[in-house]
Symmetry: C2
């Protein structure tokens, strides 16, 4: 019976054949332990000299790292392994011999591993991170589908950008000029007026000369937007969503979290509701902690966010930022117009901001004023004003950065490990 | 009780309040029929003069198209409407009045509608198409998640492209040059060697000067890739997948299909297995139909594909194309090396090719030969050879174009209606 490692629990005591690669090996004169991987998982194959044909044991001792094989054997329960099963190998058929595989069990430098990212993905740690990334993606769709959000794909190629100019990638679009989108939000607002609750999930591009452990040039973002939803309800959706993905990973990726040595207690605690503090309170917290390099009206840097997050064991919402340091479309607090109805969600354990969101301006006159202030009038975003002309409604939305969220949940030090083929300041290969 | 139109079936006989827009209106001196939409659906609100406060009836008669409202009323079953429910309106609160909404119930030209795409999406027909697109996306994730495929996001920005040069969008990547990806396949092959079965689902870019009803400059593609899967098994995955999405739409989007007037019998028939013919047989079919403008060795154009599809009432696989008209990485048929182990899947009813796929070359020497033939040696795809050096295995994959599939399932004449904000040769706005 051909099967995969992920399904061996269905075949205890039975003989199965698995297409696999040799991840690692230990052997003596009498026994060989083969660490096998097939993409769905890792399992130990045990080859006992006395129990197999002579050439099978010889093959087991000779096969090299990353050689591809058909392995036939009997599935056994094995309490000592975290996986719970092993394979009593009876036969080995080499598909293709791997000679001098570059990534050996010894230590390699990061640049070397990044140059070999197409192979590095095969390692147990990278495999675990990619499986958790997949579970975050899967549970994201489940959450938004179950809550009546419609997937909407805003365009990547746009005529111009309403936010930031220097950080845009430019391309010729036949005789026109186009830019790679940094956010689909404005389009999603239009879609929310048509479909009620919508979300996008796609790649985003920032030509930012940042070289930090939290920045990628190309990253994936989830951007939900909902009509008739005001600021407070939006925060509830956000905390429900983040709780849901964390609990889904805990439930469905136990093995991978263990592979990564992640502290599960830290994740188990991530359940809605999340604490909420205002920007003003955040400034107070920083002052109390002796951090004085920030004044009311200035934006937080990563160190400020980390210092604030230290005070909480769940993600924390920082709300009501000064209007002048936030995006032009955010709705002023009616009770205090110098701040806006917005929130950043800061992950615990130093992983920084994972969500930015706000209620949007729904008043045409105010939006026209913002257009003048930001020199947007007459440009590629004239259509966006129409959303305030024709049946404007209160609405809110937010954006979650996938890779920062993967980094937090997996405990990865650097976002470069959280995406299959990272694009960094100095890296466009492989 | 605040609710949405999608949930009124839970509130029959009860009073609810819905945030909505006025899509359309008919009224006499005694009664007004309000076609209401809230993004989740459409419902008729009935305002009877004698049953409401005087100002409510006056408001109902006066409100203009696309005005946003809070509507309060009692949910009633209504057998005459395809939706099955209506609202006996008791109160109306205008949120924001819409003046001179540009898209009236009269006919508009396509360019006018495309210029107002951000508003056109609110119409019943566009709403239905977007909901079906969403269901195709949702069921795609369900299918691949349930079948052990891991979502992998290949990079959009790449150092060069192994296929086609002139159709690439170029951008400066700091001091380097980058191109927008036309396919993540090569990266997905690397990921399949790490994760077994993988799929991507993201935007794709072709700077192609085509102006047909089947071409978009920016479109979304699903690209699955599986290790240890040979050509025949790949075809089975493809037909299972396509059947699954069609049956999911039939099950979950009945109302939307009816809104579009789609012939359901044509879709009900779409169940695996699908017919399979070789390229040679396809040429024969064309000859028999009197279509003689094609010789063995030439690729099919859209008219050929349509003529072949006419012979079948399900999607049809055309397999074993001549190697020289297909991509460099496709595996030659061992029994007949002038053709490759590939298939295009042609949709019925004239919708053309929706899938292209193949088994991939797994032999290093043959791949090196192809690199020389295609001048790929020493370039940005050196890493791709490593997949044949270190534990090469048989593997196959395919790509499905989302928008063509949406066009087929919804019966849309032109792909421009199948994506929220289409990018066409002359269109980068809105
Ligand atoms: Mg921030
Ligand atoms: Mg074709």
């Amino acid at each position: 019976m051909k099967t995969t490692i992920s399904k061996v629990s269905n075949f205890v005591g039975q003989e199965v054949t698995i297409g696999a690669w040799l991840a690692n090996k230990r052997s003596s004169g009498k026994i060989a332990f083969l660490q096998l991987r097939d993409g769905t998982g890792f399992i130990q194959g045990v080859v006992v000299k006395e129990e197999v044909e002579e050439d099978v044991f010889a093959k087991a001792r000779a096969i090299t790292q990353e050689t591809s094989l058909w392995v036939t054997g009997t599935v056994r329960e094995d309490d000592r392994s975290p996986f719970g099963y092993e394979l009593a190998v009876k036969n080995i058929e080499v598909i293709h011999e791997s000679v001098d595989y570059p990534i050996t069990p010894k230590e390699h430098g990061v640049e070397f591993l990044m140059d070999h990212r197409h192979l590095w993905l095969r390692s147990k740690r990278q495999h675990a991170i990619m499986k958790i990334r997949n579970e975050i993606i899967r549970s994201t769709y489940q959450f938004f589908n179950d809550n009546g959000f419609v997937k909407v794909d805003p365009p990547i190629l746009t005529g111009t950008s309403a936010e930031g100019g220097s950080e845009l990638f430019h391309t010729k679009y036949f005789d026109d000029d186009a830019y790679l989108s940094q956010s689909g939000q404005l389009y999603l607002e239009a879609a929310a007026m048509a479909l009620g609750r919508v979300f996008s999930f796609g790649p985003t591009f920032r030509a930012e000369k940042s070289k930090t452990k939290r920045h990628l040039i190309e990253f994936w973002m989830i951007e939900p937007e909902a009509a008739f939803v005001e600021h407070d309800e939006s925060l509830e959706i956000q905390e429900q969503y983040v709780s849901f993905i964390v609990q889904s990973v805990l439930k469905n990726c136990k093995l991978e979290l263990n592979t990564l040595g992640r502290d599960l207690s830290k994740l188990e605690n991530i359940k809605a509701p999340f604490p909420r503090i205002t920007y003003d309170e955040a400034i107070e917290i920083l002052k109390k902690k002796g951090i004085n390099d920030i004044e009311w009206g200035e934006d937080f840097g990563a160190p400020h966010e980390v210092a604030i997050a230290e005070e909480f064991d769940k993600p924390v919402f920082i709300t009501h930022y000064p209007a002048k340091i936030k995006a032009f479309y955010m709705k002023p607090d009616p009770k205090r117009p110098e701040v806006v109805l917005c929130a950043d969600l800061i992950a615990p354990e130093g992983y920084g901001e994972i969500i930015g969101g706000s209620q949007r301006i729904d008043d045409l006159e105010l939006m026209q004023k913002r257009y003048e202030e930001h020199h947007l009038t007459g440009g590629s975003y004239e259509w966006y004003l129409d959303l305030r002309k024709y049946g404007s409604v209160p609405h809110s939305g937010f954006g979650l950065g996938l890779e920062r969220t993967v980094a937090w949940i997996t405990g990865a030090e650097h976002v470069r490990e959280t995406i299959p083929f990272p694009r960094l300041l100095n890296r466009l290969y492989p």
